[in-house]
């Protein structure tokens, strides 16, 4: 067994970051790296599906599609064509608390990329025809990822309505077909005006640019976009659960049962140290063959086919504000084992709460987590995405590269406390009943 290496001594990569705020309130982060002729451009808007209005489920995601349908100076299809014919790739994605748009381009196309993002920040071109087309596309997206697929949307669509009571936290972020079908161009204009103000966004650049030249170009493309009011973000907090909530869903296509547990966790924006203990706890529970749930439930008891513990809706522990959750999911072959699976999870959590970690366990798990972050930051595009996200959610782009330090301060006592908070009375449990013959 190799000798131990403390996380605090890890050779963290460092990136020079330049930050600036334009007159219209747009926050800008530039992280030059001239080693490869590639540049990443990311724009994060501070609105996700948590903020969409009642009766408009799925609208934040539909709107993300509409942002690609043309803008003040660009016809439909031109955005895609300009990025790709420049040798680049693009995408966008909608999350609980933000929506992002991004490109990875050869650096010769840097200014072109700025133009494309500025043009739609200024004024997307949303027509009835494009709206109808993208509603159809989004419905196919939901069919392929949810309705036509066993375990589709499990657990991200079925857990929130059990764990939460208010519409913003509980509703289906992909959207109901009825709501999607009735979305209008007027709704889109209102959504854009409310949430897509420059002051509600972060622009992040990473890669092969000179910081001063980049700032000048950014000013020239984005500086002229009119300042609009930054929307006030409501408090989405809900009181803690007082008793366990249980629900059953039937999946007509699934051949085997599955279970999802959702636990309320501390507010990541409140006390990062406390929250990071839960982040490390999730890794201790299910990362790799030496993790607690893999050893206990998969290898030793052979109760489940697979098990996974992760934070947030989509598995990124640092992409959501309060309230967010820790998920534990498992697939298993015998529906009679549901209670045994739950008991097995409780045993592992209880052992951690009572006895804490094994010698070396905490160090190796945080070494692995730090290494995973370094690896992620190797890609210029990921770097622009992470810096934008951390600037938007934590007001501190560089925090992502400095995480090994606060991670090193998490103690065994912190892990025990984090495990002790995950009690049955603070969780929602959704049992998936298979409807298909195995």
């Amino acid at each position: 067994v190799p000798s131990k290496l403390r996380t605090a001594a890890l050779p963290a990569p460092s990136f020079d970051l330049v930050k600036h705020k334009l007159g219209n309130g747009l926050r800008v982060v530039v992280a030059p790296d001239r080693s490869s002729p590639v540049v990443g451009i990311a724009v994060y808007y501070d609105v996700g599906f948590r903020s969409e209005p009642e009766g408009r489920t799925g609208f934040a995601h539909l709107f993300e599609h509409l942002m690609f349908q043309g803008s003040e100076n660009l016809e439909k299809l031109e955005h895609f064509r300009y990025v790709q014919s420049s040798g680049g790739v693009f995408n966008g994605s909608t999350h609980l608390d933000y929506t992002n748009y991004f490109e990875s381009l050869p650096s010769r196309a840097f200014e072109r990329g700025l133009f494309l993002e500025a043009d739609r920040m200024r004024s997307p071109r949303i027509t009835d025809e494009n709206m109808a087309n993208q509603i159809a596309v989004v419905k196919e997206e939901i069919r392929v990822n949810v309705m036509n697929r066993p375990y589709g949307g499990f657990p991200w669509l079925v857990l929130p309505p059990v764990l939460y009571d208010t519409f913003p936290n509980a509703h289906n972020g992909y959207g109901g077909f009825e709501d999607l079908s009735s979305a209008s161009v007027d709704d889109a204009a209102e959504f854009f005006n409310s949430y897509y103000a420059p002051a509600n966004a972060v622009l992040s650049i990473a890669g092969d640019v000179d910081a001063d030249a980049a700032m000048d170009l950014i000013e020239s493309h984005f500086g002229g976009i009119k300042r609009r009011k930054k929307p006030v973000r409501p408090d989405f907090a809900e009181p803690p659960l007082t008793s366990e909530r249980r629900e059953t869903v039937t999946d007509a296509l699934a051949p085997m049962p599955a279970i999802a547990l959702g636990y309320r966790v501390p507010n990541p924006g409140d006390d990062l140290h406390v929250y990071l203990a839960t982040v490390l706890l999730a890794e201790i529970l299910s990362d790799g063959d030496a993790s607690r749930l893999q050893r206990g439930l998969v290898q030793s008891k052979r109760l489940v086919t697979d098990v996974s513990a992760y934070l947030g809706t989509f598995g990124d522990p640092l992409e959501e504000r309060d309230p967010t959750r820790l998920n534990i999911t498992a697939h298993y072959s015998d529906a009679r084992n549901t209670e045994a699976v739950l008991a097995g999870i409780d045993v592992e959590l209880d052992r951690l709460a009572q006895n804490g970690t094994e010698p070396g366990e905490l160090d190796r798990v945080r070494t692995k987590l730090a290494a995973t972050i370094f690896r992620e930051l190797d890609q210029v595009l990921n770097r622009s995405l992470e810096f934008a996200k951390f600037e938007l959610l934590f007001g501190d782009a560089v925090l992502i590269t400095e995480l090994p330090k606060p991670l090193a301060q998490v103690s065994d006592a912190d892990i025990r406390a984090a495990a002790a908070r995950l009690t049955p009375s603070g969780r929602a449990v959704v049992e998936l009943v298979p409807g298909a013959q195995a």
């Binding site: 190799p2 790709q84 196309a109 596309v137 085997m256 030496a290 290494a371 690896r375 890609q379």
Partner: protein, 446 residues
Amino acid sequence: MTLTVPALAAPTKPKKITASERVLASGLRVVAVRRPSVPMVEVRLRIPFLSARPTHLAHSSLLSDTILTGTANADRTGLAIALQELGGDISVGLDADRLLLSASGLAARLPELLAIYADVLGAASYPADEVAGERERLLERITMARSQPGVIANEALAHRMAPGHPYGQSLPTSESVAATTAAKLRRLHADRVRPDGAVLVIVGEVAPDKALDAAEKALSGWTGSPASAKIPALPELGDLPLLIVDRPGSVQTSLRFGGEALTRSDERYPALQLANLIFGGYFSSRWVENIREDKGYTYSPRSSLDHAALGSSFSASADVATEVTAPAVLETFYELGRMASLPVTDAELESVRQYAIGTLALSTATQAGLASTLSALFGAGLDLGWLADHPARLAEVTVAQVAEVAAEFLAPTKLVGVAVGDASAIAGPLAGIVDVERAGAGADGG
């Protein structure tokens, strides 16, 4: 006021990739590249694994699930702990051609990471209880996989293209998995997990010569040549009707089309690469702009060229709403037919040329991307020169060359297809526009 889209700046010449290489006495080829972007290292070990034995898929699948569950020196937990301490992880990938052991870890810990490789390669023990547990899990995972429409469709297409061939099946049968024992895995490991013919790629914040030394030191005890395996020839593609696989009540139809393609070393390959992109290989392609951005039939239609050891193939896939299945096939054949019979425009060609050159650079811009790219290239018998020269080859492709290969490989009559969906709803409309065949009872493409 109308603004003008900024022009592109002058292109930057990509940096040359320099690799250090050594063939060990065992026959293992080791390649190392320095990439000091983050303090990490990526490792890819590619071992040829193609075999015509009927039990090979079951044995190799379970081998890849259990190769990390114990050695003569460490149990499963011990291996996993050792890897985490290096900030590392090893994952095992399998396809019909190769077994791939991929790892990442802190660059400073490369010698220890390679020592774990050596332990697994030389002394994997396939403990009987671990094999029994993983066999159960594999059976359950196969059950779950076979419930996925995408898996059913991909298997049906593979079978349509290469019936009776290892390429024609991607999941083992439950019976063959159930009959796989630890002794059979040990035998397969002894026969095939051998250094002669394998390629080890190391990319990261490492000094290449030191990385080669570390590999030689760690792996010098891993020796031997693989047992000879009969390699079956790839069957010729049949002239077959569209196969309908019934999935009652399905709200979508999973469409898959496939055909033959050129290998990367063929001089006409760059033209076919660009023809595929123009048809459906990127978002700004004809097919995506037609059936998604114009018609709204589907979310993610995409075509691609895939390269296997025995040959390359073209494939196109789209999941479309049940009620528009026939119109979607009609538009697909229209776009394929247009590729095969009419020249592309200069603008279309220029766009895909830049896209192909740009995304090639992106794919090698990270440690992990470069390591995977090099592993695949070396596995196919290509070299760094191929990578360096490919942009220049793409730059020279003409409209006439694209037309020639499109007619030969993308014509609808050159392809086979499958449609996995609600047969009661789609068979009639489909039969109106193409020859169809209904899959027999129990036909799952396997």
